[in-house]
Amino acid sequence: MSLSVPTMAAIRYGYGIRPGEPPARGADDLLAQVQAGRTAAPLFPPEGIESRRKRIAEQRAWLDAYRKAVQNGTADRERRKRFQQDRLKTFQTDAVARIVGATMSPLGFNERLAGFWTNHFSVNAAKGLALWLMASLMEAEAIRPNMSGRFADLLQAVTLHPAMLIYLDQIRSVGPNSRAGKRNDRGLNENLARELMELHTLGVDGGYTQDDVRSAALLLTGLGIKVPEQTTQFRPRRAEPGPFEILGKSYGKRRRSMADCEALLDDLAANPHTARHISRKLATHFIDDAPPDDMVDAMVAAWQASDGTLIEVYRAMLEHPRAWTEEGRKIKTPFEFIVSGLRALDVDDETLTAMIAVRGVDEAPSGPASPAGDEMAGVDEDKATGEAAAVAGAPASGTGVMAKDNPAGTAAEKPDRQARRLTAQALAQMGQAAWRPPSPKGFADDAAAWLTASQLTARIEWARKAVTVFGKDDDPREFLRKVLADAARDDTIQVVSQAPSKAYGMTLVLASPEFNRR
C-alpha cells in the first residue's frame, strides 16, 4: 500500500514534514512551490547578492595591493591573516544559512531542486580564494532563479558564472594561436569543455569524441573574468581564431565573440542526449536508482515539446503513476537528513535565524584536511587556503569529530558552536560538506553510497545531539506520528514506544529506516 499523497509529497519531494506547515496535496501544489521559488531570495549570501559581488571585487583589489606590498616588503601579514579568516567565516556563515534556509522554507520541492541542480553543476569552494565567497553566490543568482524555465537559460547562467569559470580552470585557458597565446607560455585547458559535455549536458555516452572536447575547449577560449570585479567577460586576446567543428557543426569565425560560446551552449542544451541524460538523472534522484523507463521517456517527451522548459519536465515526472508509489527506495543524503531532522524537531524560525548571525572566528570552517580533493587547486590565487590533498576516507570537519566529552547542548558550549556542530560541521563530518563536492561530478546520488556503517553511526550521533538540544521533552510516540505520519511502520511504532527514555525514543525516530529513506 502506498503512502498518502501529502506524506509522499513531503518525504519524497520535500525535506520531510515540519509540524504546522500546510501539506502539498499533489503535483500541482509541488509545481506551485517551484513557481513561487523563482523569486524567493535564499538566505545566502546573508548580505544580499549585490553586496556580495561588491565585497568580492573589494577583496580582490585588496589582495592585489597586498601582493604588491609583499614585493616591496611592506606587507601587513597580520591583516592578511585576518583577511583569510574573514573569508572562511563568511563561507561558514553561508554554509549554515544554506541548511537553515532549506529548513525554514515552505517550498520544499523548490529547495530539493536547488539541491539537485547545485550538485549537478558542482563547484568546490576550496578551489581558490575567490570561490569561498562565490560558491553560494552562484547558487543564489545563477541556479535558483532558473530552475523552472528553459534548461538552456540555466546552462548559460551557470556556465558563464565566474565561479564555474574559476572552478573548471577556464580562466586559465588560452588559445595557442590567439594573440595572448603567442606571447606567453599559457595555453589550452580542456577542463570546462570536457565536464560541460560529460557532466552538465550530453552525458558520458552522449555521442561526442575527444576531438569534440578539444574543439569545444578551443571555442571556449576567451571566456574569462574581469579583475578586480571578477565578473564574466569575453577576452578576445585569448580567443583562438575559429572556425571549429563540434558535433558536426561549425562554430566561430576568425574574429571571436561571446556569442560563439553561447551558440555552443544553446546547441548542447537542445541536444537530445542532454534531455535524456538530465531527465534520467532527475528521476534517479527523486524516485529510484533505477527509474522506470517510461517515466524517463515521458520526461524527455515533455522536454522536447516545451523546448526544454524544466517545470514541464518536473510535471511529467510528478504525473507519472510511479511518482506516488513504492516509497523509500532512496536513502536521504546527509544534507537531506540534517534538514529534515531540524524540520521534524520543529526548531523555530527565530532559533534557526540566529544560527546564521555573523560570529567570531574560532576555527576554520572545514579544517586542514579537505574532502575537496579532486579539482583542488591553490593555483596562484593563494596557498593560504592551506588545502592539503584529501584522503577520501576523511570528510572535512571543523575541529574534527563531535567530541564525546562535550556534546552539543551542554552549558559550557557557546550557542554558535552548537549551531555549527549540528549544521555545517555535522554535514562535513557525514561526508557532504556544503559546496565542497569531491569532484565536478558532485556527491554520490545512489542509495548505497549513503547507507554504510559509518554513515549510520554519524546519523545516530547527530540525532542524539539534536534531540538533546531541541526536543528532549517531547513524547516520542507523538513525535513519530507528527513527522512520519502514515510512513511509520508498526514495528517502528512499537520499538519507539518502548524506548528507555523520551530522548532516546526521539533519537530512534530520527534514526529509523523510514526517516532515513525517501
Binding site: 584536511a369 583542488m376 587547486a377 593555483v379 592539503a388 584522503v391 576516507g393 570528510p395 569529530v401 554504510t452
Partner: protein, 391 residues
C-alpha cells in the same frame, strides 16, 4: 548477518589504546583467516601523474615536453636506476626502495581508452572489466570469493561512503576514522530491533558495532583527525587484527593547473600513508604485506598552458611492502620521442594495471589463474613470465 561479536564494547577498552592489543579479538574470527598475508589497495583519484612521481630523466624528450615540470638528478630528482628518478617529494620512501620494499610499474593503464573521463576511468579501474557498464561490483570484492580459505569479514574499506572497488556480493566492512558509536548496550539493542526488518539498515548497524569495537581500542577517547596518516593508522590497526584486505582513496591528483604546487600536496599524502602503514604494521606484518597504489589513468606527456597536465592514458602504479619484489621500476618503456605517444599526447600504455593487481592477488593469497582471468578480471591474459610474479 550475525557477527561473532560477544564482548561488550566497553570491555574492549581495558586493553588500552595500542593496536597491538590483538589478544582481545575473538579467536573465532582469527582462526577463520587463510593466512597472515595482507593486501592494501590505494585508489589515487583524479589521475596521478606518473611521469611526475617517477620521472624518466634518461629520456631526452621529457625536458622538452615538460620544461617546467621535469627534474634531473642535478636539481633534486633522486636517481633510481640511471633512467628513472623519484620526485624528491617522495624522498621518505627511499629507505623502502633501498630495502627492496618499493617498486613501480610504469606505462600501465586499464583497458579504458579515448574518452578520458575521471568517473568512467575510475569505474574501469575499480570494476576491473574490459568495458564499461557491465557490472557494479568491484574486482577486490569479487576476489574475496576466490581466495582459498577466505570467509566473511576479511576486508575493510576505510571511508564514510563505499568505494566501488570493494563493493559487491561479498561482505565487506566500511569504517571511517571519524566514526564512533558511543552508546550503551541497552540502547544498542533498541537500534537492532529498530532495524531488524530493514536488511540494509540491519547490516549497517551490525557492521558499526563490530567495527567500532575494534577501533575503540585503537583510539580510546582521543580525537580523531582525518588525514592520510590517520587513515593509514586505522588500516594498519585493522590489518593487525582480523582483516587481511583493505582499501582507501587519496584525492587531489587532477593537476590541470600549477602542478608544481598541487602535485606535491597529493604526493605527500601518499608518501605519509605508505610510511605510516609500515610503522603501524611493524616488521613482522609489513613483511607479509603488499600495497598497490593505482590511478584511473595518467596525464598528458606535454605540460599544458597552465603549467599543469590534462587527462592522459598511460600511468604508473606503486608497489610497497615487504612482500613485493622491490627496488625496481617494472614495465616496458614506450619512449616519449616523436611518434611514440598515444594520440600524440599520452604515454603509450604497454601494460595492464589489472595484471599488476592480479599478480598481487596471486602472490599474497594464491588465487588461481583461472579465477584471476575469469571471476576477478574477466578477459585478462596473464603473462606467466612476468617478473611481478617472481619473488
Amino acid at each position: 548477518m550475525e557477527q561473532p561479536f560477544t564482548l561488550t564494547r566497553r570491555s574492549l577498552l581495558i586493553g588500552g589504546c595500542c593496536a597491538a592489543a590483538a589478544p582481545l579479538l575473538t579467536p573465532v574470527t582469527f582462526a577463520a583467516m587463510p593466512g597472515d598475508n595482507r593486501f592494501v589497495t590505494i585508489v589515487l583519484r583524479g589521475a596521478m601523474d606518473g611521469l611526475d612521481l617517477v620521472q624518466p630523466h634518461g629520456d631526452p624528450a621529457l625536458k622538452q615536453l615538460r620544461p617546467d615540470l621535469a627534474l634531473s638528478p642535478d636539481d633534486g630528482l633522486i636517481d633510481l636506476d640511471g633512467f628513472f628518478g623519484l620526485n624528491p617529494v617522495a624522498s621518505d620512501l627511499m629507505p623502502l626502495w633501498k630495502a627492496g620494499e618499493l617498486s613501480f610499474v610504469h606505462a600501465v593503464s586499464t583497458p579504458y581508452r579515448d574518452a578520458r573521463s575521471h568517473f568512467d576511468g575510475q569505474d574501469m579501474l575499480e570494476t576491473g572489466e574490459e568495458t564499461l557498464g557491465g557490472t557494479t561490483s568491484g574486482w577486490l570484492n569479487r576476489s574475496l570469493s576466490v581466495i582459498p580459505g577466505a570467509t566473511g569479514g576479511l576486508a575493510i574499506d576505510v571511508n564514510m561512503s563505499s568505494d566501488l572497488i570493494l563493493n559487491g556480493p561479498n561482505p565487506v566492512s566500511i569504517w571511517s576514522t571519524r566514526s564512533d558509536l558511543a552508546i550503551a548496550d541497552d540502547e544498542l539493542q533498541f537500534l537492532k530491533r529498530l532495524y531488524q526488518n530493514d536488511p540494509a539498515f540491519a547490516a549497517a548497524i551490525t557492521e558499526a558495532t563490530r567495527t567500532d569495537a575494534t577501533t575503540d581500542s585503537l583510539y580510546g577517547d582521543a580525537r580523531r583527525a582525518g588525514g592520510a596518516v590517520e587513515v593509514a593508522k586505522l588500516v594498519g590497526a585493522m590489518l593487525l587484527k582480523e582483516y587481511r584486505i583493505s582499501n582507501f582513496s587519496i584525492n587531489g591528483w587532477d593537476t590541470h593547473v600549477g602542478q608544481k604546487v598541487q602535485f606535491p600536496r597529493a604526493a605527500r599524502q601518499l608518501v605519509r600513508a605508505i610510511v605510516t602503514l609500515k610503522e603501524t604494521l611493524g616488521e613482522a606484518a609489513w613483511n607479509k604485506t603488499a600495497v598497490l597504489a593505482m590511478t584511473e589513468f595518467g596525464r598528458t606527456v606535454r605540460q599544458n598552458g597552465s603549467k599543469g597536465t590534462d587527462h592522459g592514458t598511460g600511468g604508473c602504479c606503486i608497489l610497497a611492502g615487504g612482500a613485493v619484489n622491490g627496488g625496481k621500476v617494472f614495465g616496458k618503456w614506450p619512449g616519449l620521442g616523436p611518434g611514440k605517444l598515444l594520440d600524440d599526447r599520452d604515454l603509450m600504455p604497454t601494460g595492464d594495471v589489472r595484471a599488476v593487481a592480479a599478480a598481487m592477488l596471486y602472490r599474497q593469497f594464491g588465487v588461481r589463474e583461472s579465477d584471476l582471468t575469469g571471476t576477478v578480471f574477466p578477459g585478462l591474459t596473464l603473462d606467466r613470465n612476468s617478473p611481478l610474479l617472481r619473488s
